[in-house]
C-alpha cells in the first residue's frame, strides 16, 4: 500500500503537531481579576435575604453536623431561604477549594487556610459587611486569623472569612485512669504533667495516644502546646501569619521539640503512633486505652455523650506555676466566593449565626465550641462537670491571658503535609533531631512563602 510505511507516521506527526499548536498557543491560567475582589468594600448597611425565594449554595465539611443544623434552623426562621448543600471531607475541600471557588462558586463555603485563596482573588472582601453588622466591634483576636494583607500575610488587612464558632485545644484526660494513678488534681506545671505521664507509664497505662500516621502529623498538637509552655504565643503567630523575617527555629521552640523528643524516648506515646489515624486515636481514647490525648473542643459534645462524666479537659500547664497559658484557637472558617450570587444573604446568615440566640445554642450544644460575637453576648447554659463546660471555661482563661494562636499547620497551604508531618514522623521514629526538625520545617516554609 502506498501510504503504508511512510504515510501513517507522517499523518500521526501532523496530528500531534496540530494538537501541540492548539495546546501551546497560550500560557495556562487566566490573568486573574484580583482587583475586583480586593478593592475596598463599602459598608453594606443591611444585608438581608429579602423575602423572595432564595437558594443558598453551600459547600460544607462532612462529619460535623453543626453547619447543617444551623442551616436547618435558619430556614425555619426564614422560610424563603432554601439550601443546596454539597459535602466533602476537609482534605478534599482543601484540595478543591481554588477550583470550586473559581468554576462553581458557592455562596457559603468551609475554607482551608485563606491566604492563597485571597491572593488569587477567589474570596469576597467582607469588610463592608463587617462595618454594616458591627463585626469590627468584636474582640479583634476573633477575626485576626481571617484578615489578609495585600502581600498575603495574615493577621491584618481586609476580612475574608467568618467563623461559625471558634475552637479551643488542649489536653483531654480520662478521669477514671487519672484517679487510678493518683492524679487527684489537674497538673499545674509542666513538671507535674511529666510526673503524671511517668506514673501512667509505670502503671502500664499508655500515657498519651496521638494520631501521627499517613499524611497527618498529630504530634504537632503537643508540640505547639509545648512551644507555649516555653515561649510566647506572639512570635509563633507571626510565623503562622507569614510576617516578614519570622522564624520557627527559635531557642524556646527548640526546647519544646527537645521536650517532645524526651516524651517520645521515654515511651509516653503509644508505640504505633506513626500508623495511627485520627479515628483510631479517638476510639482508643474513648475506649479507655490512654490517659491523655491532645485534641480540640470540637470533640467536647461527642466525649460528653460517649464518656459521660469520665472525660476531663485542661489547658497545657505552663512551665512555672501560675504562668500565662496559651492554646491553639481558631475560628471554624466559612467564606463567600467572590463570584457568589447571593453574597448578601450568606453574610446575613453568618451574622445570624453569631447573634441569634437559637443559633448560639446550637453552636455550643452541637459544635461544642464558643460562639463568635461580642464578649458580653448571650451564652447558653452548660451543665456543670461536662467537658463542654471546661472547654468553654478554658476559652475565658485564654482570652484573659491573650494566649490564642492559630495552628502551626496553617502557616502555608502545604507546610503540614510536606513539612511538619514527615518531620514529626521522623522524630517519632528516632530518625530526626529536634534541631534538624526545626531547620527543615523553616526551610520548607521559606520556599513555600516565596512561591
Amino acid at each position: 500500500m502506498a501510504h503504508g510505511p511512510t504515510g501513517r507516521p507522517l499523518l500521526a506527526a501532523l496530528t500531534l503537531a496540530a494538537l501541540a499548536a492548539t495546546a501551546a498557543c497560550s500560557a495556562p491560567g487566566g490573568n486573574s481579576d484580583t482587583t475586583g475582589a480586593n478593592a475596598s468594600a463599602p459598608a453594606v448597611a443591611a444585608a438581608t435575604c429579602g423575602t423572595a425565594p432564595v437558594t443558598l449554595k453551600g459547600y460544607f465539611e462532612t462529619g460535623f453536623p453543626l453547619p447543617k443544623d444551623l442551616s436547618a434552623e435558619f430556614t425555619k426562621q426564614f422560610p424563603n431561604v432554601k439550601w443546596d448543600i454539597r459535602e466533602d471531607q476537609f482534605a478534599v475541600i482543601t484540595q478543591n477549594a481554588p477550583r470550586v471557588l473559581a468554576d462553581d462558586p458557592p455562596d457559603l463555603m468551609r475554607l482551608p487556610q485563606v491566604s492563597e485563596l485571597v491572593k488569587d482573588g477567589l474570596l469576597k472582601n467582607l469588610d463592608g459587611y463587617a462595618q454594616g453588622t458591627g463585626w469590627d466591634k468584636w474582640p479583634a483576636s476573633q477575626l485576626e486569623q481571617m484578615r489578609v494583607g495585600a502581600s498575603g500575610q495574615r493577621g491584618d488587612g481586609p476580612l475574608y472569612a467568618m467563623g461559625l464558632n471558634f475552637s479551643m485545644t488542649g489536653l483531654f484526660y480520662n478521669k477514671k485512669l487519672a484517679s487510678q494513678i493518683g492524679m487527684t488534681q489537674q497538673p499545674a506545671t509542666l513538671a507535674d504533667l511529666d510526673a503524671a505521664l511517668q506514673k501512667a507509664k509505670d502503671a502500664g497505662i499508655t500515657p498519651i495516644d496521638q494520631f501521627n500516621g499517613g499524611a497527618t502529623g498529630g504530634l504537632a498538637f503537643p508540640l505547639q502546646n509545648l512551644m507555649t509552655a516555653y515561649g510566647e504565643p506572639g512570635p509563633i503567630n507571626d510565623w503562622i501569619f507569614q510576617k516578614p523575617g519570622a522564624t520557627i527555629d527559635t531557642p524556646t521552640n527548640l526546647q519544646a521539640v527537645q521536650h517532645l523528643d524526651k516524651w517520645i524516648k521515654a515511651g509516653y506515646f503509644a508505640k504505633d503512633i506513626n500508623s495511627q489515624d485520627y479515628a483510631t486515636m479517638m476510639s482508643r481514647f474513648i475506649g479507655g486505652k490512654a490517659l491523655f490525648m491532645f485534641n480540640g473542643d470540637w470533640e467536647s459534645g461527642n466525649l460528653d455523650k460517649q464518656m459521660a462524666g469520665n472525660a476531663g479537659f485542661l489547658l497545657m500547664p505552663p512551665a512555672q506555676a501560675g504562668g500565662k497559658q496559651a492554646a491553639m484557637s481558631a475560628p471554624l472558617t466559612y467564606g463567600i466566593s467572590s463570584k457568589a450570587k447571593n453574597a448578601d444573604c450568606a453574610a446575613f446568615f453568618l451574622n445570624w449565626v453569631a447573634t441569634n440566640q437559637q443559633a448560639r445554642d446550637i453552636a455550643v450544644k452541637v459544635g461544642g465550641s464558643h460562639p463568635m460575637g461580642p464578649a458580653d453576648a448571650y451564652m447558653p447554659a452548660v451543665q456543670e462537670g461536662t467537658v463542654t463546660a471546661s472547654t468553654l471555661a478554658a476559652g475565658a482563661t485564654i482570652g484573659k491571658d491573650n494566649g490564642a494562636m492559630d495552628f502551626i499547620a496553617n502557616a502555608t497551604g502545604a507546610i503540614y503535609a510536606k513539612g511538619w508531618t514527615p518531620q514529626l514522623q521522623k522524630l517519632a521514629a528516632g530518625q530526626q533531631t529536634p534541631d534538624g526538625l526545626l531547620k527543615s520545617v523553616q526551610k520548607d516554609y521559606e520556599t513555600q512563602v516565596k512561591n
Binding site: H3, T15, L16, L19, A20, T22, A23, A24, A27, P28, G29, G30, N31, S32, T94, Q95, P98, R99, A102, E116, K119, D120, L122, N212, G213, G214, A215, K271, D272, I273, N274, S275, Q276, G413, A414, A417, K418, T421, P422, Q423, Q425, K426, A428, A429, Q431, Q432, Q448, N451
Partner: protein, 303 residues
C-alpha cells in the same frame, strides 16, 4: 465496500473513497483518543514548562522544573522507591505466578485447580482501594498479621508494619504482590494451555523429570506471556498510586512516597502544577525507558 473488486484499475479507482471511509469509521475513536489522551498529555508537557498554581497567571520557566527534579533529593527519592517496588510488584508475582501456574496445570483435572484459580484471581476483582483498606487493618499493630506472629511466639517482631520506616515500603509491596499474583498466574496458565502436549510427551520419553520439563519446555514457551506479565507489573510499580495512597499516604516521613503520589501532592496540595507536570512527564519517559527494552527482549525471541 461490498462491490466485488475486479482488476487493477478498479481497485485504484476505488482507493480514495475507501481511505476516506476508513477514516470516517475511525473518527469517533480518534476524536476520543485525541481529546482524552493526546490533548491532556500535550497540555501536561506544556504546563511542565511553566510555574503555575492552577488558577492565577503563569510564568514561563523553561526547563527549570526538570532541573529541580534532578537536584531535589526528595523528588529523586520517590523514583528510587518506585524501583524498589518493582521487586514486589513484578519479580514476586511473576516468579510466584510461574510456580503456581505450573502446579495448577499439573492438577488441571481436579476441582481444586478451579478453586485455586478463582481464589488467586479474586484480588484482581476487588477495587484497589478496598484491598488497601483491608490490608491496612491486617497490618496494623493489633491486626491479624501481628496476632498470628504472637500466636507462634514471635512477639518480639510484631510491629505496626505500615507505620515504621524500615517496614512500610516492603509492607506496601506485599499488598501489591498479593494483588498482582493472580493476574500473572492467569496469564501464564493461559500461555501454558497453548503449549503442544506432544512436547512434554517427547521430553518424558527422553527421560526428563518435571523440573527439567519446566525449564526446557514450559519456560521458553512462555516467553511472550512472561513479557506481558513483567510489562504490566513494572508499569503498576512505577505508576503506583492507589495502594500507597490508601495504606500510608506516603508516610511515615516520606518513606513510601512514590512519583504518582508526589505528583498528586504537588498539584493539589502544594499547588505547583508546573512541577507536578514535569514529574509526570519524567515518569512517562521513565516507564517507556524501562518497558520498551522489556518488550523488545521478550518479543524478538519468539520470531
Amino acid at each position: 465496500m461490498s462491490a466485488p473488486v475486479t482488476g487493477r484499475r478498479a481497485r485504484r479507482a476505488r482507493r480514495p473513497r475507501a481511505v476516506w471511509l476508513g477514516w470516517l469509521f475511525a473518527a469517533p475513536a480518534i476524536v476520543m483518543y485525541g481529546t482524552f489522551v493526546l490533548r491532556p498529555l500535550l497540555l501536561t508537557v506544556q504546563y511542565s514548562l511553566y510555574d503555575w498554581n492552577g488558577i492565577g497567571p503563569s510564568t514561563w520557566v523553561g526547563l527549570d522544573n526538570y532541573r529541580r527534579l534532578l537536584t531535589d533529593s526528595e523528588l529523586f527519592a520517590t523514583i528510587v522507591h518506585a524501583f524498589e517496588l518493582i521487586v514486589f510488584f513484578s519479580f514476586v508475582p511473576v516468579l510466584l505466578g510461574l510456580f503456581v501456574a505450573a502446579t495448577i496445570r499439573n492438577i488441571a483435572a481436579s476441582r481444586l485447580a478451579t478453586v485455586a484459580r478463582t481464589v488467586l484471581f479474586l484480588p484482581q476483582v476487588i477495587p484497589l482501594v478496598a484491598a488497601g483498606i483491608m490490608w491496612s487493618w491486617l497490618l496494623s499493630s493489633t491486626g491479624l498479621a501481628n496476632e498470628l506472629l504472637s500466636a507462634v511466639g514471635l512477639d518480639s517482631i510484631t510491629r505496626a508494619w505500615l507505620g515504621e520506616f524500615d517496614t512500610a515500603l516492603p509492607a506496601v509491596g506485599v499488598i501489591g504482590a498479593w494483588v498482582l499474583v493472580g493476574l500473572c498466574t492467569l496469564l501464564l496458565l493461559a500461555g501454558m494451555s497453548k503449549i503442544d502436549p506432544a512436547l512434554y510427551e517427547a521430553a518424558r520419553l527422553d527421560g526428563a523429570g518435571p523440573i527439567r520439563e519446566f525449564f526446557s519446555i514450559t519456560l521458553p514457551s512462555l516467553r511472550q506471556e512472561i513479557g506481558v506479565c513483567v510489562t504490566v507489573t513494572v508499569i503498576a510499580a512505577l505508576a503506583s498510586f492507589d495502594i500507597v495512597y490508601i495504606a500510608t499516604q506516603g508516610g511515615p516521613g516520606n518513606s513510601t512516597m512514590v512519583p504518582g503520589l508526589e505528583i498528586y501532592y504537588l498539584a493539589f496540595s502544594e499547588r505547583e502544577v508546573g512541577m507536578a507536570s514535569a514529574l509526570a512527564v519524567a515518569l512517562v519517559l521513565l516507564v517507556l525507558a524501562v518497558v520498551l527494552p522489556i518488550q523488545r527482549l521478550t518479543r524478538d525471541g519468539s520470531r
